[in-house]
């Protein structure tokens, strides 16, 4: 061993001489310390650090700005509309008889469409992701994955069109109804919309599970299916949940598709075959027509605020679930 070390030393020295850096001086250093240059370098470090800090702050500032806008524009609504009015079911601020500002029906509609979409998209998306990551040959994966990602780029208005022209008659025929513009239609379209996100991110998460985990399972006599369900998917769960949450975020905030495809009835829905109007669609339809500064105008900001809080809660809950899960894992 000692011999070996001696053997390496001359080689290292000769390599160092060939390097582009200045040669070593007598004290074994490359040049002297220069306080001026040191100070400039330190200032540069600080400059770069503050640049990144500023960039990080921008997103927080924007978020705070949106929050305060919704809050300040929504607050005046309570001068004219009592808080309990918002808790009622029907939203009809332009009624000739009595304007009502109930958020019940549109909130239920939003939740129905969102969770209905997830009900379709999560099993299909997970199965597709598992297929891509575990079963498909590399060539199939290379073709399919970009195609699925392109699906994410389809404008929502095109999907809404699809909903009216394709899904609408299909639902109408399947359930024997005059038309198929209802919550189910919205669910199907939003599922298609959130699928690329769920598939793509879940596939990444599943593919990232170390092969050693799968080997351990297979070596114990587990079938490929058992390995997938009991080891691979649980190991990838944090990534899968994140993908579902992102897909859900897309579904809950989606406006144009649901506006076109769900029928826009303001009544409280009783089933997925009822026409619904979501919170986003309500804002999109009415904000352009409403007199600036009226109670109705401010009430629309209340809807926006509630939507904001809902998405915030979804993110918060998923964060908590994730953290709980990761504690078990470590």
């Amino acid at each position: 061993m000692l011999l070996n070390i001696k053997g390496i030393m001359p080689g290292m020295v000769s390599k160092a001489n060939k390097s582009p850096l200045p040669p070593f001086n007598k004290r074994g250093m490359r040049g002297d310390f220069k306080p001026g240059r040191f100070r400039w370098r330190k200032a540069k470090e600080r400059l770069i650090a503050s640049f990144f800090f500023f960039n990080g702050m921008v997103s927080i500032i924007i978020l705070a700005g949106i929050f305060s806008l919704l809050f300040s524009e929504g607050l005046p609504a309570f001068k004219e509309i009592h808080f309990s009015d918002f808790l009622q079911s029907t939203w009809n601020p332009t009624s000739y008889v009595k304007a009502t500002y109930g958020l019940g029906a549109i909130m239920v509609s939003t939740l129905m469409v969102t969770f209905g979409a997830l009900l379709i998209a999560v099993p299909v998306g997970l199965a597709c992701a598992a297929y891509l990551a575990e079963i498909a040959s590399p060539r199939v994966r290379e073709v399919l994955k970009p195609i699925i990602e392109i699906l994410a780029g389809i404008p929502s208005v095109v999907l809404g069109f699809l909903g009216i022209v394709v899904v609408n008659p299909l639902i109408a025929r399947a359930f024997g109804m005059p038309n198929g513009l209802n919550a189910l239609n919205g669910c199907i379209l939003l599922a298609i919309m959130s699928l690329p996100t769920i598939i793509s991110l879940s596939e990444d998460a599943i593919a990232a599970v170390p092969k050693t985990h799968k080997d351990a399972s297979l070596a114990l006599g587990a079938s490929r299916w058992q390995t997938l369900v009991r080891v691979t998917i649980p190991s990838a769960l944090s990534g899968i949940i994140a993908s579902i949450m992102l897909g859900m975020g897309r579904a809950i905030g989606e406006t144009m598709t649901v506006l076109m495809a769900t029928g826009n009835a303001q009544a409280m829905p009783h089933s997925f075959l009822d026409a619904v109007r979501t919170m986003t669609a309500t804002i999109a339809i009415e904000l352009g027509e409403v007199p600036f500064g009226s109670a109705h105008y401010h009430a629309l900001f209340v809807i926006g605020f509630v939507l904001f809080v809902m998405t915030f809660l979804v993110n918060l809950v998923s964060d908590i679930i994730l953290q709980k899960y990761q504690e078990v894992e470590q």
């Binding site: 080997d215 297979l218 070596a219 114990l220 009991r230 649980p234």
Partner: protein, 253 residues
């Protein structure tokens, strides 16, 4: 090597794509013995080990020729279910790979996928496996804690317990102590000594002293071929071939 062999191979060739990793391997492995495979890196000893429970099939683009018999049955026969083979031939990997689950769930995993649901029976077998793997005293109070919190040596013994829980006949160990410190290594080696009463053990090791300490029979692999197989004592004291002697005395490797 007079006894009836537990495992034997006939003209085994193995390919990763176009490159041949194993050439004409013929070996008999006798039951209730520890057989060690030694040889320099890339000589095919781990590849051969993984042929014995068909784990090489999980790697895309591999091909095998020849036959592997366990108790007289060709495990590569089309009528054989790979799941049955892997239940009978357990494996411990080079890098300890517990699942990100609790200690109990790790050991119970093989039993549960086998369809065992009875909680008392599960607890009983898990305890027995952990005792057999010499880790029970260290983990008995924390069975529900995550296995990821154990030390490297403990994780490896947990993996051994996990393999033992399904009561295999053969235990394949792929450099089980290569990532462990000397004390943890010693514990694993003592464990191997105890386990050979019940199991047929095949161990791959880089460490020649380890092969000399734990095994009864040693096979020397070089460039995808078995150069020499004999009693461990003979291999390490009076090898027949010069190549073996050179490797064992450290002249190459």
């Amino acid at each position: 090597m007079a006894e009836e062999a537990k495992i034997w191979t006939e003209g085994l060739n193995f390919f990763y794509g176009a490159s041949q990793a194993l050439h004409d391997i013929n070996i008999k492995i006798s039951p209730h013995n520890v057989t060690a495979f030694i040889g320099p890196s890339g000589c095919g000893k781990s590849t051969f080990l993984r042929c014995l429970n068909r784990m090489n099939e999980t790697i895309v683009g591999t091909r095998i020729e020849g036959k592997v018999f366990i108790d007289g049955h060709d495990i590569y026969d089309r009528s054989v279910d790979v799941v049955d083979i892997r239940r009978r031939v357990g494996m411990v990997f080079q890098k300890s790979n517990p699942f990100p689950k609790s200690i109990f769930d790790n050991v119970a995993y093989g039993l549960r996928i086998g369809g065992l649901k009875d909680k008392d029976k599960l607890a009983e077998i898990v305890e027995k496996a952990l005792i057999d793997a010499a880790i029970w005293d260290e983990v008995k109070d924390r069975l529900q804690e995550s296995a990821m919190g154990l030390s490297g040596g403990q994780q490896q013994r947990l993996c051994i317990a996990r393999a033992l829980a399904v009561e295999p006949e053969v235990l394949l160990m792929d450099e089980p102590a290569s990532a462990l410190d000397p004390i943890a290594t010693q514990r694993i080696e003592e464990l191997i000594h105890q386990l050979k009463e019940k199991y047929t053990i095949v161990i791959v090791t880089h460490n020649m002293q380890q092969a000399a300490r734990v095994s009864d029979i040693t096979a020397f692999f070089y460039l995808g071929r078995i150069i020499e197989v004999d009693d461990t004592e003979t291999i390490f004291t009076r090898p027949k071939l010069k190549q073996t002697e050179d490797y064992i005395t450290g002249r190459f490797g």
